[in-house]
Amino acid sequence: MKNKKIRFLKVLIFFAPLFLLASWLIPGVPLAAVPANVPIKKIKIEGLYSISSDELIYLLCLRSSNVIVPENLARGIKRAFKKGIFEYISVGRDEDDPGVIIVKVREKDRIKDISFNVKGAGISKSFLKDNLIFKKRGFMRYDLLGKAEADLKEALSESGYPDARVVIRAARSSGKGKSPYRITLTVSVEMGQPVLIKAVQIVGRPEAEAGKYIKFAAGDVYDQYKLKAQINALQKYYVGKNYLNPSVGPYSFSQGVLYINVVPGARYETFFYGNHAIGKKALAALMPFSEAEAVRDDLVEEAVQKIKDAYREKGHPFVQVAPVLSEQDGGYIVKFHIFEDGKITVASVSFSGSTVPAKTLEEFLLLRKGALYNPDLIDTDRSNLQDFYASLGYLDASVPEPSVTKAGPNKMAITYHIAEGRKYLIGQVEVVGGGPVPAGLVKATLGLRHGDIYNEIDVTNARYRLLELYNGKGYAECKIGIKRDFSAPDTGVKLVYTIDPGQKFFFGKSVVVGNYQTKLKVVQREFLHKPGDPFSQKILLKERQKLYELGIFRDVEVSELPPYNATFDTVYRVAESKPGAVDIGAGYGEYEKYRGFLGLSYNNLFGMNRTGAINLEVSSIEKRAVLSYLEPWFLGRKLPFRATALFESRSQLNYDTRQVSYKLIRYSGSAGVEKKFTPNIKGQFYYEFSLVRTYDVVPGVVLSREDVGTLAISAIRPSIEYDTRDNPFDPRSGVLAGATFKLASAAFFSQTDFAKMVVRAARYQAISSRLVLAMDARVGLAEGLGQTTELPIEERFFLGGRDSVRGYTQDALGPKAPDGTPVGGNAFFVANLEFRQALTKDLGLVPFLDAGNVWPTIGQIRALDIRFATGLGLRYKTPVGPLRIDYGIKLSRREGESRSKIDFSIGHAF
């Protein structure tokens, strides 16, 4: 028995190595045939780091209990590669358990960080960064390592360090945050000795002149980047001085001496005589000599023509220009004698042979009554008229050269003799081969009816509408032809639209590329399609727009991969913006004195497009900290949820005496949701809780028991807003209207009960390209409920100052305490009118009229008590809205009040 056992072990020892050899030395070669149609039972993934297993399985198109189809698998691997993060993917089947699929991936290495070790001074880190082909967060290309070193060395050599040594090493990231496929690059630079300049020699020009731009001196490092920039500046200087072909350089460097050749070449000067309508500077800018690097007779003729053209544009069609060209001291002098003649305007425009009213036709002309007469525009006007007649169905209309006659001193009369010809109407409209789209829908989309005026633009647009209809239904290759039959003009032009819908395509899978921080879900939830929906380019464009609007991507590209089985996979290539922002600023205000703020925000928390922000504000009278959080998709729906926590410590001052009226400490929190009902209508619902401690209150300011001590205010705040403004920062058209309601009640554990409502309506209307009329009206009403007779002071309305009634001190309107401190009221009305006149591209002038007041209660509102102010403001456009200075004058000034006030601010008053 014992011997048998030993014999068995000996046999085992003999055969085991053979077994080992067979199984190890021929990897990948199956030991037994594996059935191909075994359904997937389990998927094992190895080597994946940067994306989730679910995303990889989705891209590979591997579904549990499905059988693997080789073509689909190949397509899946290729699709996954479009992510741009993989360098190897293999998909295999477990030999022992064929239902188990093994996916092995290897990702490309990404550069997590780049550190620079520089021995020796003289070069900045940013220089090294700019000249290094590898960038932080980019993919590592080991094949380019040598090139990167050589390029950097070359750049250092050019900047004066030819002996610099560069070594770049890549190391797998280590330490606590260790992650596969992430590497750190270390760039070690030994600068070596710089090449120093011993002397600079400018050859060909006085050194004093060139020295304004060539600023190298003995002892400087021979930095060729700087030198080239200075040479370019000198070259530009000579061109600006009318040198025809200035040559600065080549330069050479020998034994420490920098030699620079400077040959400015011939120079020209221009003189203009008799010019009044156009200035010398503007005429000089028309000269072609610098660009042609020569002064020749033909170029002088070209200059004459350009001057004439400029004069014709200014209403001087009969200008005469006499040039005189002479040479002097190796240069050229060109004199232009200009005989402007009078400024000619169009006295009248008349038409013959037209059934269309002259006034209508004149609207299409550049040369209308009162316009400057420029004969160069006549052909454009003829073409405009011809197009207009064609749009009316007069396809054969002829608009010959008009007759132009003198109609008095410096006036011209223009008469067009028009031959309208036949008016064409649309006859029969036929559709051939509409395919699966219902005929009624096709006809309705065409929008052309028997008896309509035949207009080529309408006919072509109808084709585009049809194409859009078919493309939107998945017929991406739809072809539509139009046949026009003019053979029977009496019955109208027969139109035949031939539609070949082609194959119907569907949406396939979507690959999202470049979302390194952002979760896939954030992109996917913006999609407007599902796999299997009819493919439409229009949907892709809308999705692109939606992704841009998230504010977390600086670039979004959407494309489709080559189709398979009538299906398009789509690729969304996004480039993420930096999610963090810091705002910091300081200022001085008349009321607040010194003030400063610091804002930190991050708009892609957890890669979910959630925004967190903290804002700190400090001034001589106030300390304020606000913590806010925004979740754009609340409860799995596109329902922005916002939560805010606030701390505020404030002293309210009497504006004139700067005595403290009261002090306030507030802890407040709010949370609520926003809902866009339509693109223009938005609703909000918030809950607010505030704990307010009011102290050091001047006796006259106290209106109720709530004005002193600590008070808990618990309220709900629903609101609705209608906004059609074209630009919220600087609107030129549209309406902004809305209502906000706030209800504080013991039912929500509030220590005070009240209801208040603010309603507003603003309208913006462009009167001309430079003038906008802006109007705004706001009304606020509040009422204490139950035991509460007066609202707490921080809930009352205040008015006056830069955003309400200008010319008055901030919050100064309405009821006041005996010491003159405003105490606010329960009702207000304010209306503003502005004429926003643009003076230049960035500068504007705004005359305004403001009216409004605050009353203690609703019952005490008196229309005759409304206070008025007028004034003038200056606006200067900035990216965050216009910089504003308003000078307001009180129109209903009372005794003891100042006459006027100046306000500074950013952004429009409304």
């Binding site: 020892i13 080789p70 590669f81 993989f86 998909v91 295999g92 590329v513």
Partner: protein
């Protein structure tokens, strides 16, 4: 006793290794990447199909050569698709791209044809220049197109991220 112990331990170790060996190798590859060009993968199944096709025309062609051709084709195709997007077929897009980008710029001066004729007069059998001029020009043109195409491909390759994974390719390909 000591010998028996050693025998037992060795047997046990070998058993474990023998059992573990086949487990490690027991994976049948269904498909995998053999190369990538930027974000485009070239798969074993594609290489397989191309290789079989190419072998029929050029029996001594190697797997590596076929793969290089596929890489070149992919590089050109990406450029071609920028000008000729879908639904133009791959072959047509490539053809039109090379015509537009390379062929259109190749001109063979008469002197070059004359020089070729003079250098190869003997091989051409002494036929007059005018009767073979067109053929010589065609030949030189194709040569020049080929040269420029190679140079263009070199540039594309220099800018592209390419990696090849031909190791462990089943023996059938070698």
């Amino acid at each position: 006793m000591r010998f028996k112990q050693i025998l037992n331990i060795t047997a046990a170790v070998l058993l474990v290794l023998a059992a573990a060996g086949p487990l490690k190798a027991a994976e049948k590859i269904l498909d995998r990447t053999v190369a990538f060009v930027n974000d485009d993968a070239i798969l074993l199944s594609e290489l397989d199909a191309r290789y079989i096709q190419a072998k029929r025309l050029t029996p001594d062609i190697t797997l590596g050569q076929v793969l290089q051709t596929m890489i070149n084709r992919q590089l050109l195709l990406v450029q071609a698709r920028k000008i000729f997007p879908e639904p133009v077929s791959e072959d047509k897009a490539l053809q039109e791209f090379t015509d537009l980008k390379i062929r259109a710029f190749v001109r063979i001066p008469e002197q070059a044809a004359r020089n070729f004729y003079d250098q190869n007069k003997k091989q051409l059998g002494g036929v007059p220049f005018d009767s073979v001029k067109d053929q010589i020009e065609r030949l030189l043109k194709e040569k020049e197109i080929n040269r420029r195409l190679q140079a263009y491909l070199e540039t594309l390759r220099g800018n592209a991220d390419i990696k090849i994974f031909l190791e462990n390719t089943p023996a059938i390909f070698h």
